[in-house]
């Protein structure tokens, strides 16, 4: 008799209209193992897992749990079968306490909220070795706490099979270590775990086996110990790929943008950026690392003139830019592109055409009351040709493009304006390997032509390979600026959590002050 798997998928196919998300996928999960599900964006990982957790139902194919064929047509079915999923975007009610978030979905919850729910849940969290305050409201929780809560929730419902969709995307290095510790412990207790990620080093670290999907098709499953990152990448993208990110050496020019003692408040009125100083030279790429929500957004908005600052100075080529309107800052050649989590929120008008998005920043430069779409169409065509944007036409709504193409359109427009400072936040967010490398190339091209780049990123490996220096933020404070080729991930991780402060490493000069600062020039100019 064949080995009995905790979960087995046979010939699963799922289509969305003309799009085949999964085609004839076979996958099996042994009892008590950690299986990594690896694949590029749009390779169908999440769709496949959503079918296991009852959000989608497969068009064809069979799902077997503990060797028996089952139909999972709702999350309730999945719960009953002991399958739980921790989604990439947490499914929690912000204004509820931790306990209530678990309680509301529990089978035995009944009609009345019982007082003992706090105690029950705390006991159960302790049993699995979690540290959780059941009274704490979700909106007061840090990201890692929310994730812990999601995991506890799934365990509480009695899941034996746990699926985690990109759990590490929002965590720091130290938090990832902690999470992996939890996963290993769960494995020892006999749980089977599927973890979705596209970070290869994590795959190598945590999993027993790796299953690979490419463009909706199942490629193979291998034992982690028999493979390596290069091999996995080739399976994932289907051809050989150079994993090295280029960092062209460019002669450093004088400081282009200098920030001194900048303090900014967030929308809620908290201090988001706290007395931050740094500078960017021409031909330099400065990375900004930090846990999500550490003031990156506020910093970008302030530089672009979209957010008033509390105190401090920002000078560009020796000229003060504090208090200028977004338009005036744009005119000085400072371009900002921020890719938010939903990708289309800032910088692009999603239902409008590529042409209309091209003219967004210069539609008002022409005379007269009419919009010049002809020039916009030519610009759009040029960006499409030069950056290889895949689109039916220049009149296609941006929303219809895939993620990589959306980001190319956005960067293409910014570069077209010929900026001398590019502030780019999460430019490869959610992109697969090929598209990411295309974006790195675009940025490197700009750097070579003397543009100063502020690169707000998430992936430390990428930033260490691509950027010249990395500025680390923790709760809005600068923890130091380090040379990207000299630092380590552990060092960055410690700085991100605030455990390591390197601002006073060089006692002779304050961190973030350029030796050849143009500040004096500005003072004289007054």
């Amino acid at each position: 008799m064949a080995e009995e798997y905790a979960v087995e998928l046979r010939g699963i196919t799922k289509t969305f209209g003309p799009v085949v998300a999964n085609h004839n996928v076979n996958l099996n999960l042994r009892k008590g193992e950690i299986l990594s599900l690896l694949g590029e964006n749009g390779s169908g990982k999440t769709t496949l897992m959503n079918m296991l957790s009852g959000i989608y139902t497969p068009d064809s194919g069979t799902i077997l749990v503990d060797g028996k064929p089952v139909t999972i047509s709702s999350p309730q079915d999945a719960k009953r079968l002991g399958i739980g999923m921790v989604h990439q975007h947490f499914k929690l009610v912000d204004v509820f306490s931790a306990a209530d978030n678990i309680w509301m979905g529990a089978q035995e919850a009944g009609f009345v909220l019982k007082k003992d729910r706090y105690q029950k849940i705390e006991e159960m969290a302790k049993k699995f070795g979690f540290d959780l305050d059941p009274h704490k409201q979700v909106c007061n929780m840090a990201v890692s706490e929310k994730q812990t809560l999601e995991i506890i929730k799934v365990l509480y419902y009695g899941a034996k099979v746990i699926i985690l969709d990109e759990p590490t995307a929002v965590l720091t290095v130290q938090e990832i270590d902690k999470l992996f510790g939890v996963l290993r412990r769960m494995k020892e207790q006999g749980h089977s775990i599927i973890i979705i990620t596209h970070k290869l080093n994590e795959v190598m670290d945590i999993s027993d086996r790796v299953a690979i999907l490419r463009k909706g098709e199942y490629i193979t499953t291998v034992d982690t110990k028999d493979t390596n990152e290069q091999e996995l990448t080739e399976w994932m993208v289907g051809h050989k790929i150079d994993l090295n990110i280029e960092r062209p050496k460019v002669e450093k020019l004088s400081p282009l943008l200098e920030i001194r003692d900048l303090t900014i408040r967030s929308d809620e009125g908290n201090v988001a950026i706290d007395h931050v100083s740094f500078y960017i030279r021409g031909g330099e790429m400065l990375g900004v690392a930090g846990i999500a929500g550490c003031g990156q957004k506020e910093l970008c908005e302030a530089i672009a003139g979209l957010r008033p600052i509390e105190s401090g100075k920002m000078i560009h080529k020796g000229e003060n830019i504090v208090g200028l309107s977004p338009k005036e800052i744009l005119a000085k050649g400072i371009s900002m592109s921020f890719i938010p989590e939903d990708r289309l929120g800032m910088g692009l008008a999603p239902s409008m055409s590529i042409t209309d998005n091209m003219i967004l920043k210069n539609y008002n430069d022409t005379k007269g009351p009419f919009v010049d779409r002809k020039a916009g169409r030519e610009d759009a065509q040029r960006v499409i040709d030069e950056l290889g944007v895949v689109t039916p036409s220049t009149e296609t709504p941006v929303r219809r493009l895939s993620g990589g193409n959306v980001q190319k359109v956005l960067l293409g427009r910014e570069i077209k304006a010929g900026p001398n400072v590019i502030v780019t936040a999460y430019p490869v967010r959610g992109l697969d390997i090929n598209s990411s490398y295309a974006i790195y190339n675009i940025l490197n091209q700009q750097k070579k032509s003397g543009v100063g780049i502020l690169f707000v990123g998430e992936d430390l490996d990428v930033m260490m390979a691509l950027c010249d220096k990395i500025l680390v933020l923790c709760h809005g404070k600068v923890m130091g600026v380090v040379h990207a080729h000299k630092t380590t991930k552990e060092e960055l991780g410690l700085m991100m959590t605030g455990s390591l402060d390197l601002t006073h490493k060089y006692a002779d000069k304050p961190a973030g002050y350029a030796a050849d600062s143009l500040f004096d020039q500005e003072e004289e100019g007054k």
Partner: protein, 369 residues
């Protein structure tokens, strides 16, 4: 057997038109069943309704004139609403803005009608109506921009305030109240038709009201404004993504205020045209165009040409049912309202089918567990 709803990538235009026409046809069939149940021959009723009682009628041109009278305010209101809706500003205050505009235009007519030449009075009526309605709109927009209030609630509430102000004017006798008919002992609105009214261009017996021509001109202007001008572009960007507009350096607040002002202005103009042709105020002066206009704007998917077409259709329903009611006494003219509702429902359903497709898979999937 299982049913899947699948998203369509693209729906060819002919299919869309077919679906919409099919939806209207189906609505008529459903309405026909209701008519049958009442013992009325639906074919006869519909032929009366769609010809608006013009066939065999010696004064058929009168019917066309009256039909256009219904059409003009509806089109203008829908055009005005489409401006705000494009920007995702939910102006459902068409009724209130219409009423305020009508009151302002009437006031101008009574106060200056005798002293000034008629063309000047008409222009002043339009300007006053547009300003009054526009300011009411800007008031709500300013609160939204400044304090983030909800425009849907505010415009809705202002509808009732405006309506009660109008009722107050219509029911309060007083020396100051020049809106009333001084000859009548009971408070009734006075007519200014003898003082001033929009001129007609006579084409034989048929009098083409100048408002019709003006409406067509305004329709063209709105089309060009939305499609070609910088301001139209700004409206589209703000409507699509407020964050993006701000990021591009647009003065979002100014754009919102300006657009809502224009939106309400057009509704005010609709009111001026309406009272300028009717020559009298009434508490039902709006003819519900503030509500119907919302339906028209959405059915037309905020498309300027579409607004003219949909208005024409709805106008036929409303006017035709009144005409048919003359022959079929059993069928009240509110049958048109019902039909309108059914059409709206089915067109929305058709809209769903232009975006999605229903696939039925034959394969039986066994249920376990």
């Amino acid at each position: 057997m299982r049913i899947h709803v699948v998203k369509r990538e693209d729906c060819p235009l002919w299919k869309k038109i077919l679906l919409y026409v099919g939806a209207v046809a189906l609505a008529l069939v459903l309405g026909g069943l209701v008519l049958l149940a009442m013992g009325v021959n639906p074919l006869e009723y519909y032929s009366k309704m769609f010809t608006m009682g013009m066939i065999g009628n010696k004064i058929a041109y009168k019917a066309v004139e009256n039909y256009l009278k219904i059409l003009v305010p509806l089109i203008l209101t829908a055009l005005g609403l489409s401006l705000a809706f494009k920007m995702r500003f939910w102006n459902i205050g068409g009724e209130g803005q219409f009423i305020v505009g009508a009151i302002a235009a009437t006031a101008v007519a009574f106060l200056t009608g005798e002293a000034l030449p008629q063309p000047l009075v008409l222009v002043l009526m339009c300007v006053a109506a547009m300003a009054a309605a526009g300011l009411l709109g800007v008031f709500v927009a300013a609160l939204k921009v400044r304090f983030g209030t909800n425009e849907t609630l505010l415009t809705l509430m202002l509808n009732y305030i405006a309506l009660y102000v109008l009722t107050f004017l219509g029911e309060t006798k007083g020396d100051w109240n020049f809106f009333l008919n001084p000859q009548s002992a009971r408070p009734t609105f006075g007519s200014f038709a003898s003082l001033v009214s929009f001129p007609k261009i006579m084409l034989g017996k048929f009098g083409l009201n100048i408002c019709v021509l003006l409406t067509i001109v305004i329709g063209v202007l709105v089309y060009v404004y939305l499609k070609r001008t910088k301001q139209g572009y700004e409206i589209a960007v703000v409507g699509d993504s407020m964050g993006t507009a701000r990021y591009a350096g647009m003065k979002v607040n100014t754009i919102v205020l300006r657009t809502v002002f224009f939106s309400a202005c057009l509704i005010g103009l609709a009111a001026a045209f309406k009272v300028g042709t009717a020559g009298i105020l009434s508490t039902s002066i709006t003819d519900d165009v503030g509500w119907t206009g919302i339906i028209v704007a959405w059915l037309a998917q905020l498309n300027t040409v579409g607004i003219f077409l949909v208005s024409a259709l709805i106008g036929v329903l409303q006017f035709g049912s009144t005409a048919a009611a003359a022959t079929f006494s059993a069928v009240d003219s509110s049958f048109a309202d019902m039909l309108q509702g059914v059409i709206l429902f089915l067109v929305l359903a058709a809209d769903f089918f232009t975006r999605f497709r229903v696939v039925i898979t034959k394969k039986e999937v066994e249920r376990h567990g």
